[in-house]
Structures are given as structure tokens and as C-alpha cells.
């Protein structure tokens, strides 16, 4: 359910730490109701970009709006309507679960505080443990607490920095169902993640590498635009085959997956030639398949590295 109203619209966003450029000329447009997946290797600038968006860092250059408010001048008003979940747990470990939620509710001046906190505890399933110190929770539960705390004041925009890192599959699925429900209600979500299955559940993706936003679009369009061709090879002795295929420059990515091999490259003809000997052997089954998002991202990362060096 994507509208046309741009909730995030920034241009030329840059930020350096010393002489290290963490975010370089990033243009980002996220529309109302979007679930925007933010991907990129470690240290590529995801967290920094998110901090720039919610006014926690001052950009060196760039301009734009967040929720129709100026990112540079009106960060105070932006904060009221944004729910930001930090990558590292940053609620108070020496406060109980309930006290943390109470604090958040008070700071945002919520009127029905008690009811809202009760409801959040109920949804979390933490009613029984509400008087436990937050510091005593397991890693995954801390994530879930942080998530529900940053949604407590019903923000219009959620900025979630790796919200499901270390969270079990059931909780992750619940989380993504919730994200889609919120999206359906017109809430915009920008979420950074390293999980491919989560990337596939977003309706838009942005891929950042070395501070540059190198790819943007729906998962489908990213796959199509990547120019990748992917073959699936099934057969015996897959690891020896993988080593042999890696000799061909056209086989840019050779990824063993169980007993199968994903072979991708951009030069369709050369890749076909590299695979021809295998196709002629009866023991091997070779077929064309859709490129996977992971292969697309790794290609994006590699090409942006080549451009850099």
C-alpha cells in the first residue's frame, strides 16, 4: 500500500568522521506506507544514514525533508513522530521492563500511559516479567523490548536498525507480520537488515556500499536490473566442480548450497560456455534459475569496490 507522498526525501546527504567518509552523497526517497529495506555490508554507512535522518548526527552536506519537516532545522519536531530503534540495545538496563516503557511514554507525553504500556507488555508477552530488570533479558528479548518501546508512541515513521538481529524465527515472522500491518495503516518503515528473507519481504530496497547508495528499487527490479544470469548445478562432487568453475572469469559467483551450486555472472554467453562441459555429463543437472537477491547484492558490492579502487 504505497502512496505518492514522500515521507523521507533527502538529497546529497554526506557525513565524514575525520577523513573517513561514512555516507557519501546519498539520495533517498521513501514513500508513505513503504517498507524500505536498507542493506549493505558491515561499515557501509547504514547506521550513520539512519542517525542523520533522525537528527542524531549533523550532516556535513545535504538537504531534504523527513515527514515534511526540514532534516537540518526541524529535527526536534521530527523526533516526536519518529520511532528509532538503535542497533545496539540502548534502553536502561538498570530499569525494569515496565519502568523503561513508562519512561518512554512519559517523555512523549502520552495521555493513556498506563493502558499503552499494559498493551505493549501484553503484545510482547512480557506481562509476567514486567518487573524484571531489562539488563537481565536475553539478547533476543532485549531486541523485542526495544522494538515495542520505539513503537509505543505510535510514530508515523519507524527507523529500525537491524531490529531482528538475534531474534528467533517465530518472533521474526511475528515482527514482519506486524510491520506489514503497520504499513497497511500508512506507517512508513525504514529497516536495515542483513537477512535476505527479510529483504524479500520489503517492497523497496536500497543497497549501500562504502557510503554510496549503489542500488535502489523493488526486489524484483533490482534482480532484473542487475544483469545477472544464474544457473543451478546439481550433481556429485559439488566442491570439486565449484573449484573448476571458479577458474572461469565469467563465473563471477560460485556458491555451494547444500548439494547444489549457484553459478552467476553477467556475461551470459561466456557463462554458458563455461557450463557446457557439465551440461554434457549425464550425472549433472544444469538449469537456468532466477538470480537470488544475495547474488545481486554481492555483485553490487563488488562492482562498487572495483569502481572505488
Amino acid at each position: 500500500m504505497t502512496g505518492q507522498e514522500a515521507i523521507i526525501d533527502v538529497r546529497g546527504l554526506s557525513k565524514s568522521f575525520g577523513d573517513k567518509v561514512a555516507v557519501n552523497q546519498v539520495n533517498l526517497k521513501v514513500h508513505k506506507g513503504d517498507i524500505f529495506g536498507f542493506l549493505g555490508p558491515n561499515g557501509s554507512g547504514k547506521t550513520t544514514t539512519i542517525r542523520l535522518l533522525c537528527g542524531l548526527l549533523t550532516p556535513d552536506a545535504g538537504e531534504g525533508q523527513c515527514l515534511g519537516l526540514d532534516v537540518l532545522a526541524e529535527s526536534r519536531r521530527i523526533k516526536r513522530q519518529v520511532g528509532y530503534m538503535t542497533q545496539r540495545f540502548s534502553f536502561y538496563e538498570d530499569l525494569t521492563i515496565r519502568e523503561n516503557l513508562d519512561f518512554v511514554a512519559r517523555v512523549y507525553g502520552m495521555s493513556g500511559r498506563k493502558a499503552a504500556v499494559d498493551e505493549a507488555l501484553h503484545q510482547l508477552g512480557l506481562e509476567q516479567r514486567q518487573h524484571q530488570l531489562a539488563g537481565d533479558l536475553s539478547g533476543g528479548w532485549k531486541q523485542r523490548l526495544a522494538l515495542s518501546a520505539c513503537m509505543l508512541h505510535q510514530p508515523k515513521l519507524l527507523l529500525l536498525d537491524e531490529p531482528t538481529a538475534g531474534v528467533d524465527p517465530q518472533a521474526r515472522r511475528d515482527f514482519w507480520d506486524e510491520i506489514h500491518r503497520l504499513s497497511g495503516r500508512g506507517i512508513t518503515v525504514l529497516v536495515s537488515t542483513h537477512y535476505m528473507d527479510e529483504a524479500e519481504r520489503c517492497n523497496r530496497l536500497g543497497y549501500i556500499a562504502y557510503g554510496h547508495l549503489v542500488g535502489e528499487g523493488s526486489p524484483q527490479s533490482l534482480v532484473e536490473e542487475s544483469g545477472l544470469v544464474t544457473w543451478l548445478v546439481d550433481g556429485p562432487d559439488i566442491h570439486r566442480v565449484a573449484d573448476e568453475l571458479r577458474q572461469f572469469p565469467a563465473a563471477e559467483q560460485v556458491v555451494p548450497f547444500g548439494n547444489r551450486l549457484y553459478v552467476s555472472g553477467t556475461d551470459e554467453k561466456a557463462l554458458g560456455q563455461a557450463l557446457r562441459p557439465l551440461m554434457q555429463q549425464a550425472a549433472f543437472h544444469v538449469e537456468r534459475t532466477e538470480p537470488r537477491l544475495e547474488d545481486v547484492f554481492i555483485r553490487l558490492m563488488n562492482t562498487s569496490r572495483e569502481e572505488r579502487w
Binding site: L56, L57, K79, Y84, T86, R88, S90, R106, V107
Partner: protein
Amino acid sequence: MSAFSLYRLWAVVLKEFVQLRRDRLTFAMMIGIPLIQLTLFGFAINSDPKHLPLAVRSAESTPYTRSIIEALVHTDYFTLVRLTDSEAEADRLLAEGKVQFVLAIPPGFTRALLRGEHPALLMQADATDPSATANALAAVQQIEGQALTHDLTGPLAHLKGRAGAFQIEFHRRYNPEGITQYNIVPGLMGVILTMTMIMMTALAITREHERGTMENLLAMPVQPLEVMIGKIVPYILVGYVQVAVIMAASKWVFQVPMEGSMLLLVVGILVFILANLTVGITVSSVSRNQAQAMQMSFFFLLPSILLSGFMFPFRGMPEWAQVIGTALPLTHFLRFIRGLLLKGNDWALAWPHLWPLLLFILIVMGVGLLRYRRTLD
């Protein structure tokens, strides 16, 4: 969104209270530090200050009285700052601490002297800090025999006699027995409050930075002033708990008198606690990490203890040290609390020591607000 909201302030205050309650170490520090210090400083620290301000209250001015004053100044222990004939003014100077001594020359002194009646002069000393006056008073006794050697010649030579032509009587005001604890214990209250208040709050904001909770706090719509005041408020209570401990000790253990108004005490202490808390919170918002905050606190504590008049009599210090001392809240608090407990000073007499504290709070809080980091840069 309003610039300052009592509701958000309340949120921070509540949170800080709960965190403080869970912090056993701070709790132990709150009670432990006063007890340790009281034991440690139970003994006196002596020194030999000179050029103490002296006022002379005299109804007459004759060559003889001038010689006596000259002789006093000549001992190096006194500087004449005021000559007056009003008893009220002299008393006020002493109570305000503008002078440490008042020499009273009674009417008819010269006549009595010349008649060989061995008249007496009265030397009043502000003995709240006995170590500051002891040597000066000893020096006064010396001049009894010598001051008039050059004036009493010829037919008057017999007046010199063995007993001296005149006598000086002492009157130690405020602390007649010269008990050093009377001075040390109220002073200690100031030192303890300075130490604990600054150190505890100095960590308050850096702790948020180091635990990573600052990122969350900054992402929420709390204002710097709300955070700073919110973190200060719980420690006001802590400060009063300490004051109660020290007051109990000074009453039951050291038998320090309590002359002034209780309400004035409570108000004055509040102002002083606030002054220290603003220092702490400002240190906290300026420093990058807890270690730096600690260093800065010590950088402030050391001169406070050394140059405020707690360790050494204020007037015994060189001028540059007095200038530094005047900028420190402890200096003014010591004058306030000694004046209150020992001299029974009232509101009007306390005000000259309180307004510098208020000014200090304003300036320091302003610096803290300016330097409060609103972002993670």
C-alpha cells in the same frame, strides 16, 4: 513542541530516582564519605596568616594611640582597613567578616595612660577559625611593653614600668575557647557536599554516553535543560541526607554550636548544593567519558579544598590564591555556614555570601547548556 516541559522533566526525575535507588555504591558513598572525612579532619590544621584586616574603633586620636596602632601594624599580622568611632559599625564589620579584629580604644584612654592608671584596650577577634587568629593575638601581647617606648620619655619614663603602660584585653568572639572543631566541622560540611555532589553528577551524563543509552535519549524529544535538571533533582535529597549526618555528628560528637536560623540553614545549603550540582552536570556534559569527568572533578575539587579557606585561613593566602578562592562556591559557603552556626548571622548578613553562589549557578548552568551535546557527533 514546547521548549521545556515539566512533564518530561518529571519523566527524567523519576527515572533517575529509580536508577539511583538501584545503585548501591552511590548509596554507600553518600553515607560513607561524610563519616570518613569527619574522622579524618577531626584534628586541626595550623598555619600562620598575616596582614589580617583590623578595624580600630576609637574616640580619640593622640600620638599615643597612633603609636599603638602603628606598633600593631608593624607586627605584620594586621592591616588597618577602617578607623571608626561607631561601635555599631565595628560590630557589623566583624560579623560580616570584613575584618577579623576590632581594636577598641575607650574614651579617655590617653588621659588615663598619662595618669599612670594602666588603662586597658579591648581587642576583639573573630575566632571562628582559631588557627587564623592565634598567632596574631600572641603578637599583640608583645606590643604591650614596647609600643610606647619612644613616646614615654623624660618625665613620663616611669610609666613604662614592668607591667607596661597599658594592657590589651582579648575577646574572642564567636568561638571563645578557640576550639578548632567549631571551624573544621561546618567547613567539612561544605567540603563533603562539594566532593560528593560533583562526583556523583559528573558521571550522570557521561554514563549515558558510555552505556549507549544517550543515543536513545537524544532520539526522544527531551530537552537538554530537562535532562540536566532531571538528573540534578534526586541529588538534592542525597545532599540533605548528608547534611543531616554531618549536623548530627557536629551536634552529638563535636558539640558545635548552632546559633542561626534553621530555615536560613536549609535555604543556604540548598543554594550551595545546587551550585555544586550544576558544576557536576556541566562537567558531565563537557567531558567525553567517565574518566575525563573524574579528572575534571578533581581539577575543581583540589582548589576548592585548598583555596576556599577550609584548609588554610583565607587571609593567609597570597592574593592570586584569594582571587581563585573567590570564584569557588565553597569559599562563600564556608563564610555563610560559619557565620550562621557560630555567629548566628541573620538573612541580611548571609546575603553577601549567597548571591555569589546564585550568580555562580547561573553562569555554570549556562555553560553546561551551551556545551550539552544534542547529537552524537
